[in-house]
């Protein structure tokens, strides 16, 4: 197995503290994540100041675990990578400054990574084969995603459809004009009295249940743009209708109808974009990629086109995906300097529509 640059990667853009060691832009040597989901369940959503405090509290224990699990020392590393946006500024700054301190203390280059790019590069990640060859399924190096690649990045913070012509070459085809898909799941989950986070709770409620209604397909500005806030309002009206009639609210049925409407919107746009741009494969990223209804519907509607879905642990925020994306920026000679700042609304270097 080839061993390209070995990168220590730090991801603190939101409410997960992710630290990983990744070599050659693919191989996960360790991938430690401290999840604050239980913390934010108390408030039913993420309070940025709470998230930032937790980031600072857990980043060094996470670092120590990641280095120990990978069994590497500072001399074994070629670079430090860190997410510098998009995300919550208070959370981003924790990772950025710890990364700066680590980098200058060992004279290692610092590579700044876009979080969305990280989600896309989760599709390149792989577990290295174990030394004793026990990990037989990895005896053959897993293929890399082919180009052109259509990426649907969908999570609590983002919903974007990105066309990737090659490494580092992105074209934004569409994105949400209001809420992110995962955010809509959280808000509707709260509306239906389901626990936080809303995604898994709604999927569980909707499992094997017939939708109680059919919500209309949302329209958005661009052909491949998304919109979820109207859907959220439709759910609210539906719930209020049952309330005003004094009828019991069919929570599971509404959850199923909502999930179907979200999935339908994501799938339609993705399938249409895949056809128009004649891509070689479609790749998912972001926490909502773990949604089974989405994966099933996409696989069916894409016909024979390969659908790449990283394991759930690589879809949610983590350090390994940042390490994978960083490898290409590192190879291209990109280096961040000591004054690196967080950019909460960072976009990828999108190419203008041809």
């Amino acid at each position: 197995m080839s061993r390209g640059p070995r990168i220590l990667a730090i991801e603190t853009s939101c409410d997960e503290t992710g630290i990983a060691v990744v070599s050659d832009g693919r191989w996960i040597e360790s991938n430690v994540v401290a999840s604050q989901v239980a913390v934010h369940a108390v408030t039913g959503g993420i309070v940025p100041e709470v998230a930032a405090r937790q980031q600072l509290r857990w980043i060094l224990p996470g670092l120590e675990m990641a280095l120990r699990k990978a069994d590497v020392g500072w001399d074994d590393l070629d670079a430090i990578a860190v997410t510098y946006g998009p995300g919550l500024i208070g959370s981003l700054l924790v990772g950025i400054n710890v990364a700066k301190g680590l980098a200058v203390s060992h004279g290692l280059p610092l590579v700044a990574v876009n979080h969305i790019e990280g989600h896309i590069y989760a599709n390149w990640l792989a577990e290295p084969p174990s030394d004793d060859g026990a990990n037989a399924k990895m005896a053959v190096e897993p293929a890399e995603p082919p180009f052109p690649l259509l990426c649907l990045v969908v999570s609590g913070g983002h919903t974007q459809l990105v066309l990737m012509a090659d490494h580092g070459q992105y074209r934004l085809l569409g994105q949400t004009v209001d809420d992110a898909a995962g955010e809509a799941f959280d808000k509707v989950g709260r509306l239906l009295g389901l626990p936080y986070p809303g995604g898994p709770a709604i999927s569980a409620a909707a499992e094997g249940v017939a939708p109680s209604t059919r919500f209309p397909l949302a329209r958005a500005a661009g052909r491949y743009d998304f919109s979820f806030s109207g859907l959220k309002t439709a759910v609210l009206r539906e719930v209020e209708g049952y309330r005003s009639r004094g009828e019991p609210i069919p929570v599971d049925g509404i959850a199923a109808a909502f999930e179907r409407a979200v999935v339908d919107q994501l799938v339609r746009r993705t399938v249409a974009a895949a056809a128009e741009h004649e891509v070689a494969a479609v790749a998912l990223g972001g926490g909502v990629a773990a949604n089974r209804a989405l994966r099933q519907a996409l696989a069916e509607r894409l016909g024979g086109l390969p659908l790449l879905v990283p394991p759930p642990a690589w879809c949610t925020d983590n350090g390994a995906m940042i390490g994978a994306a960083a490898a290409h920026r590192f190879a291209a000679g990109e280096r961040a300097d000591a004054a690196l700042e967080a950019i909460p609304s960072l976009a990828l270097p999108w190419q203008p529509a041809a």
Binding site: V50, L56, S105
Partner: protein, 211 residues
């Protein structure tokens, strides 16, 4: 060599000091933006100007607040990264104590606490008190204070000056504690927030889940 960082307010400073606490050099500036992005460039500049290599660093000293949550977090995160990378001890110092040290004639130190409040630490009192802007007495405006530039402007503090030498004082206080063999726990060291996130009880005790 001790590296000291003080970033509780937009008036930030860094210092290099001998293990005795004796100052080698310091630098101060007023940060226009809230990110503290000048901390590391200024520190590296200071180290190179005075020929101090990373290998000469023996400990980190950092102001813990109270003050700007973001400012404190940036300073402590940088200090944690340096201390973890260099495998050296870290010592946290109450920021307003250091501010008072840095300006011996000041009767109190004041730092912003949100939009319309400030923490004030009188030299004669052990702990900082929270005070609303509109409760600042006219007489206080003529008191000799050490206060962040933004407060000096907002409250028209006529005889106040900013904490430009605070990092040097942080280094002196840290040196004392280090000589007594007392360092802080690097992983769990946190700013002195003094207040929970707006509108919340403190959730610091809620557990994270390791995945």
């Amino acid at each position: 060599m001790i590296i000291a960082i003080e970033s509780a307010s937009p008036d930030q400073s860094v210092a290099l000091a001998h293990p005795s606490g004796e100052l080698v050099a310091d630098a101060a500036w007023s940060a226009e933006r809230g990110q503290g992005s000048l901390l590391l460039p200024r520190l590296l500049e200071l180290m190179s100007d005075h020929g101090v290599p990373m290998s000469a660093v023996s400990s980190l000293a950092v102001g813990l607040g109270p003050g700007s949550f973001t400012g404190l977090r940036v300073g402590l995160a940088l200090a944690k990264g340096l201390a973890a990378g260099l495998a050296v001890p870290i010592v946290g110092v109450p920021s307003l104590d250091a501010w008072l040290d840095a300006q011996p004639t000041a009767v109190g130190a004041m730092v912003r606490a949100g939009a319309a409040q400030a923490w004030i630490r009188a030299r004669t009192e052990p702990e900082p008190r929270l005070i609303a802007f509109d409760a600042v007495a006219e007489t206080s405006r003529d008191a000799e204070l050490v206060a962040s530039t933004d407060l000096i402007g907002a409250l028209e503090l006529r005889r106040a000056s900013p904490p430009t030498r605070a990092a040097a004082a942080v280094a002196r206080r840290a040196a004392e504690r280090l000589r007594a063999g007392a360092a802080d726990d690097l992983a769990s060291l946190e700013p002195v927030y003094l207040r929970p996130p707006r509108g919340l009880d403190d959730r610091a005790a809620a557990p994270v889940t390791w995945l």
